[in-house]
């Protein structure tokens, strides 16, 4: 959500609009899914089957098809989907979200996902049980009824809130205010739980605990109460988490769904979350009460709560609506319910099972009224989860809590109180029938108004709210929209960063990471201003305010936003925290994603699977999806940028220093940003930005620049010369050298040094890359060298012409490139040994003459053989195919070994060749004289090219995990 930062504010309007359209469409689609899931669940007593389907959908945003082979990460996505499923809109959202989250988080994802998965598991199991209950209560109200029994069952008593219980029973009709307060507490709890359980949570740990919980529901109850405060503290964490999610969500947000809106507003969404507290609390109370199966609750809590709320919403009561706002979370509730089951079955099962569960869960919900289904599940699970979370949280919390949370806690209460009056205000202001407006919407309005410092702002804010409301009404999203997660309206004056709205609760800490990212590199083209503008002109201010809004601050304090300050000051503190929490944040983001998935409303009815899929795929291709992708890529940039996030951050003093020192240099750029406009790359005065380095250190790690270079970290030419010779004589491995050379190249580039030294650096790097078989790096150097040579810099032109020829003919295999390369050779070049060799290789390859090829392979000058290396396998295979076709009856292996360039002599060579031949399916036999022969006729039909052993899915074996670590050490 956080990622939305800038966009979100603007997004609110646009998002809504979109939401209405997409949401509706999605919904229809959704039901089908449910049915599908349902089947799954039934069939899959075990999680596995169910998980398959969903995961797939999540993964491929584009296509909704199931991928059985989906990975764990996928399963995580599944969760989202599953959760989303109940609410039609949500379902699609979930998909998109999930996918989003996936990509960005890849590394971290697993963790986050796992928890989610776990949650799913739980839910699934419960679902089965739940489904029954759900079916019974076709309508929401029914569900309520069903619930109650459950609640009584559960520890609800232990859990807590009478209010919540009552609420529940009442059907959520009770007065909003009362709810709000009670709920608030709950929410915090739930949120904490959710965050802790899902995100942090080391899903695994929770997992076991959940089991225990399930078993011992009673025990869990106490834990819950405990956890409460801890969780409360965690809140901030949660928010932090949520912030990251926004990033993931943004994409989702771009998608049409309501949830998306939430996402875009990322910051906002959090605030919205706060309001939910009231709603949520009830929720929790529900969970508590209902939760007969305590186990589930722990991991899933947040979502569950929300879900419940949704269910309530369906009835159409205002109060219920408030709950809906939380709606996003609702999905989680689902999970929670399932969760209980999970422990039972799959303690061992990892992510995969979880996924299945998630799917299954959906199905149950689908069957009954969605809400009812949700409810039932929720009730069962929630309580247990809380206890668990508490333990987990306690571990985590201490850090953040102490520093930041403390403040938050204090503020929160204030916030709550404020909110109540505001509701009234809003109702009056809107003039619309308060009764008809969802509670959550009123909360939303209150939130917005509470932030206003003076009457002018307030008036502006009111009109805004009215607009938004009327828009929502006209779109039909009034009830379905998750107002609790709706971004707050930017304040006319401060504007601050509405985007970061997360600020409400999360405060600066969580947001810090995301909002900062918002800054992006300045080369980033125009930010999402368009979106923001749509919402309001004010939104522009957002650009400035990467700052987080602290709702608390705003509410209680009422002001305190300095745009300019916000940029920097919040950063520093927040960055630290965020760094620490980064993992958790990611998880949190995940959870938030899930929540978003839920957003949709009650209105789910039966729809077609196919429709659902179609929608999902449409979403994937939609402009929003693209936007999201942009977001994602931006986030990476940013993460690199912010020292705290980068892996090296601790290590890299330089980077840290640079960030601070960099500011002045980049003042120009930043300034432009503040104005809400950004310079196009071509408009920048590059000359003014050309740097004269002053760094005297010879060794420097490569770090891709995301801002203007800082002279103090750039080495001047004479130092670079030393650095080059250092690299040349270094005994360290290629990765180290590559890193060093890249930093040298970078320093040369930023200082615009283009001379013999530059050529030498590139040549050195190209040679090293060749020796290491690093073609991509080689190609980079080669293309730079081509340009440098063309511009008249001296170097080993012939040598690299030969490499170029070999590269083109052997690897790119592009006839036109080859022709132009050959045509560009001068007469002198053709007389050069290396070039001649390369041309001879070409002739051999073109006529398929393997004998000549391997002769040339052995005599390659310079590093020609290194390039040929990469073609040897193919050439050998071609050769053996040719031989098995043309020779009869046999060919001696000895001859093949000799001709095909197996380098060792004697027996070893024979052996090597024999191994190779066998690996490629040749049929060998021993003739009368005892010599090993290839049976050509038999071989001709059995030859095959084995899969390369070191093949990796992403196609670049050099990106192996180990190497990756080696680089970053």
């Amino acid at each position: 959500m956080a990622s939305h930062g800038a966009a979100p504010a603007a997004g609110s309007d646009a998002a809504r609009v979109e939401v209405s359209g997409t949401g509706q469409t999605n919904q229809p689609a959704y039901p089908p899914l449910v049915s599908g899931d349902h089947s799954w669940s039934s069939t899959t007593g075990a999680a596995a089957a169910g998980s398959w389907n969903y995961p797939v959908a999540n993964q491929s945003q584009d296509a909704v098809y199931y991928d059985p082979q989906r990975d764990v990460s996928v399963s995580g996505d599944n969760q989202n989907v599953a959760s989303s499923a109940p609410p039609a809109v949500q379902s699609t959202m979930g998909l998109t979200n999930a996918s989003h989250s996936h990509v960005p988080y890849s590394s971290s994802l697993q963790h986050g996902y796992n928890p989610a998965e776990y949650a799913n598991y739980y839910y699934n199991y419960p679902q089965a049980t739940n489904s029954c209950s759900v079916q019974q209560g076709g309508a929401n109200q029914h569900s309520g009824a069903a619930y109650q029994p459950l609640t009584s069952f559960q520890n609800s008593g232990s859990y807590v809130d009478p209010a919540s219980n009552t609420y529940y029973n009442a059907g959520g009709h009770q007065t909003a205010p009362g709810y709000a307060t009670t709920n608030y507490y709950y929410q915090t709890d739930t949120r904490n739980d959710g965050s802790s359980a899902n995100n942090y949570a080391q899903s695994y740990q929770n997992y076991p605990s959940s089991d225990t919980n399930a078993a011992q529901s009673s025990s869990t109850v106490p834990a819950n109460s405990f956890s409460y405060q801890q969780q409360y503290n965690q809140w901030p964490y949660y928010y932090n988490h949520s912030v990251p999610t926004p990033a993931g969500n943004p994409v989702a947000g771009s998608s049409n769904i309501d949830n998306t809106v939430v996402n875009t507003t990322s910051g906002y969404s959090y605030p919205s979350m706060e309001p939910p507290p009231p709603g949520t609390t009830p929720w929790k109370s529900n969970s508590g009460a209902s939760v007969v199966p305590p186990v589930q609750a722990p991991s899933v809590p947040e979502p569950q709560n929300q879900y419940v709320q949704q269910a309530q919403v369906t009835p159409g009561f205002q109060n219920q609506y408030a709950y809906q706002a939380p709606g996003v979370p609702v999905s989680q509730n689902y999970y929670a319910s399932q969760a209980p089951a999970y422990p039972q079955n799959n303690m061992n099962v990892n992510q995969v099972p979880l996924n299945n569960h998630g799917d299954q869960q959906k199905s149950p919900n689908m069957q009954g009224s969605l809400t009812t289904g949700i409810y039932s599940s929720e009730n069962k699970t929630q309580i247990p989860t809380i206890p668990r979370i508490a333990p987990g949280f306690s571990m985590v919390i201490p850090k953040s809590e102490k520093k930041i949370l403390g403040a938050d806690l204090a503020k929160k209460p204030a916030y709550v109180s404020v909110s109540v009056p505001k509701n009234d205000d809003k109702a009056v202001q809107n003039g619309s029938d308060a009764r008809s407006l969802p509670f959550s919407l009123r909360n939303y309005a209150m939130r917005n108004l509470s932030r206003c410092k003076d009457e002018a702002q307030r008036a502006a804010c009111q009109t805004m709210i009215q607009q938004i409301t009327s828009k929502a009404i006209s779109n039909g999203t009034l009830l379905t929209k998750n107002w609790d997660t709706e971004p707050l309206i930017p304040l006319p004056e401060n504007l601050l960063t509405m985007t970061e709205t997360s600020a409400n609760n999360s405060s600066s800490l969580p947001t810090s990471s995301t909002p900062k990212r918002r800054l992006k590199s300045r080369w980033e083209p125009v930010p999402e201003e368009k979106v923001t503008e749509k919402v309001e002109p004010l939104a522009k201010a957002l650009m400035n305010g990467y700052v987080h809004n602290n709702l608390k601050a705003q509410n209680t304090m009422g002001n305190s936003w300095n745009l300019g300050k916000s940029l920097q000051s919040p950063h520093a503190p927040s960055s630290k925290i965020s760094h620490r929490l980064s993992k958790k944040q990611k998880m949190g983001s995940y959870s938030s994603v899930v929540q978003n998935g839920n957003t949709s409303s009650d209105s789910d009815k039966e729809k077609d699977l196919t429709k659902y899929y179609a929608n999902a795929s449409a979403v994937a291709n939609s402009p929003e999806e693209k936007k999201r992708r942009e977001h994602r890529s931006k986030r990476f940039e940013k993460s690199k940028d912010s020292p705290s996030k980068s892996r090296n951050s601790a290590v890299n003093k330089d980077a840290m220093a640079r960030i601070h020192t960099r500011r002045p240099i980049s003042a120009l750029v930043t300034g432009s940003y503040k104005d809400g406009s950004s310079l196009a790359v071509e408009d920048m005065d590059w000359d003014a930005l050309t740097v004269k380095g002053t760094c005297q250190e010879i060794e420097k790690r490569y770090l891709r620049l995301t801002s203007a270079p800082d002279p103090s970290t750039v080495r001047p030419e004479h130092v670079l010369e030393k650095a080059l010779s250092m690299v040349e004589t270094s005994q360290k491995n290629y990765l180290y050298k590559c890193d060093q050379l890249k930093s040298i190249r970078q320093d040369l580039t930023v200082q615009r040094i283009q001379n013999e030294l530059t050529v030498k650096v590139y040549e050195t790097h190209a040679r090293l890359a060749l020796q290491a078989g690093d073609l991509p790096e080689f190609n980079q150097c080669q293309s730079q060298l081509k340009r440098l040579y063309r511009e008249g810099n001296n170097g080993c032109y012939f040598e690299f012409s030969a490499y170029n020829l070999l590269c083109v003919m052997l690897h790119s295999n592009n006839k036109r490139d080859l022709l132009s390369s050959m045509a560009s050779l001068s007469k002198e070049a053709k007389q050069d040994g290396a070039v001649k060799h390369a041309l001879a290789v070409h002739a051999a390859v073109s006529s398929g003459n393997y004998v000549i090829f391997f002769k040339l392979y052995k005599q390659g000058p310079n590093l020609n053989s290194c390039l040929m290396d990469l073609y040897v396998e193919r050439m050998r295979f071609e050769a053996i195919k040719c031989m098995s076709r043309s020779y009869r009856p046999t060919v001696p292996v000895g001859y093949v070994a000799q001709v095909l360039g197996f380098l060792l002599d004697g027996e070893d060579r024979l052996e090597e060749c024999e191994i190779w031949l066998k690996a490629h399916g040749a049929v060998l036999s021993v003739d009368n004289s005892g010599e090993l022969q290839i049976d050509t006729k038999a071989s001709s039909s059995t030859l095959f090219m084995p899969e390369p052993e070191n093949a990796v899915a992403h196609g670049d074996a050099s990106l192996a995990v180990n190497d990756f670590f080696a680089r970053t050490l």
Binding site: N813, N814, K815, R816, L818, L819, S820, M822, A823, A843, S846, S847, G848, N849, Y850, V851, I852, K881, C882, M883, R885, S886, Y887, R888, P889, T890, V891, P892, Y895, V899
Partner: protein, 412 residues
């Protein structure tokens, strides 16, 4: 001359030109309009250019007289003026402005009456860009005008390649684009244009004008020759053959251009041209290659390729011709086989490797036994020879039936 031109006379000439233009537009006379727009073929001094030199304020005159064409006429006059002064860079820039304005107008005209003029604009802008680029290179600047012309023509193409009567003119612009892309070496850009031409379902390719079709086939055929995959040579063969069959038989230079690519393609699928053909179209660079194919004279092939290497590389047929080597080997083996059959019918189908090595030595080509053996293996592998190779006895054993199958149009 210009110096003697009175202001009044200059004014009159310019006004005359402008009114003719205006008339052509108002009367929807495409041909007339096109002739008025042909500026690059004009000699350095024309009555109009003299008048423009004598009456420097022609821009305002045009804008005042025909305000509805104020985007178009002043720029056009400036382009004509700059062109007559041999300032091609300026001429191009002005003409591009005029062309943009014209395109705008053209879009608004519902009927394609101005197609001829539009084509003229497309042609002119390309020619001017080429001249401008030459000028820029001479002055050491970056020649980017042709590229700009390419993007302008893409706009024109966009305006033409739509449903409706204007589509018939799209192929002409496509061909102009091909010319630009081939000259710039950005052939890959052709692909999008080709796609939109060939995937159109509502317009039959045959409905385009013949001259455009021929040009189009010529260029797409050349593209196929460039293609990575040699099996595309069949495509190239079809397209170039189409171009040859439909080309105006009077236009020898065009026929020669087509043949220049068609002959190598045909050679690679085993079709040899008569020498008279090569002589008629002055394509003697292929003569030696054809001879070497007939004789199995490997040395001659290598010599011929060496001699014309630069030229062949430039037009992109070198790699195709290089592949003829195996066919020459095949011919050589065939000749040996024929001789052996006469001398020693019982062993006609067994050709000893040493014989082959010795033959090559006679041709001045030194290869060791392994290399020759490999070549024979390749010939068998690629179906140029039927038979097998016995490694133990170092003998190439030919099939008794049809040891040298015809290529049947299959490229090697």
């Amino acid at each position: 001359m210009a110096a003697y031109l009175s202001m009044g006379e200059a004014h009159r000439r310019i006004a005359d030109y402008l009114s003719r233009l205006d008339d052509a537009i108002s009367q929807s006379d495409g041909a007339d309009l096109a002739s008025l727009l042909a500026i690059s073929s004009a000699p350095a001094s024309t009555p109009l250019s003299d008048a423009l030199a004598a009456f420097p304020d022609f821009g305002r005159l045009a804008a005042d007289r025909f305000p509805h064409l104020s985007d178009f006429l002043p720029s056009l006059l400036r382009a004509i003026h700059s062109h007559s002064l041999r300032r091609f860079g300026d001429a191009y820039s002005s003409f591009e402005k005029a062309a943009s304005a014209f395109l705008q107008e053209f879009r608004n005209w519902e009927t394609p009456w101005a197609m001829e003029a539009m084509h003229m604009v497309a042609l002119e802008i390309r020619l001017l860009a080429e001249k401008a680029d030459r000028e820029l290179v001479m002055s050491g600047k970056n020649p980017d005008k042709l590229q700009a012309a390419g993007s302008f023509l893409m706009k024109v193409f966009g305006a033409l390649a739509v449903k409706g009567p204007k589509r018939v003119g799209a192929l002409y612009v496509t061909c102009q684009l091909f010319k630009i892309y081939f000259r710039l070496g950005t052939v890959n850009l052709c692909r999008s244009v080709i796609r939109s031409i060939e995937t159109a379902r509502n317009f039959d390719f045959e409905d385009f004008p013949v001259k455009d079709k021929v040009t189009y086939m010529y260029y797409t055929g050349r593209l196929e020759v460039f293609n990575e995959n040699f099996s595309c040579l069949n495509q190239a063969d079809q397209k170039l053959t189409y171009a040859l069959m439909h080309c105006n038989p009077q236009s020898e230079s065009n026929l020669r251009k087509i043949l220049k690519f068609l002959i190598p393609v045909k050679l690679s699928i085993g079709v040899l041209p008569r020498r008279t053909l090569l002589e008629k179209y002055n394509l003697l660079e292929y003569a030696d290659i054809v001879t070497s194919l007939r004789r199995g004279d490997l040395r001659l092939l290598k010599q011929a390729l060496d001699r014309h290497e630069d030229q062949l590389l430039k037009c992109g047929v070198y790699l195709v011709l290089e592949k003829l080597e195996l066919q020459v080997y095949r011919r050589l083996v065939k000749k040996i086989h024929i001789i052996q059959r006469e001398k020693e019918p019982s062993k006609a189908h067994q050709i000893k490797l040493e014989v082959l090595v010795k033959t090559l030595q006679w041709l001045g080509i030194t290869m060791d036994v392994d290399e020759v053996e490999c070549i024979m293996a390749c010939l068998i592998y690629k179906n140029l020879i039927k038979g097998y190779f016995a490694h133990k006895s170092k003998v190439l054993v030919l099939s008794k039936q049809d040891p040298f199958p015809k290529l049947n149009g299959k490229p090697v």
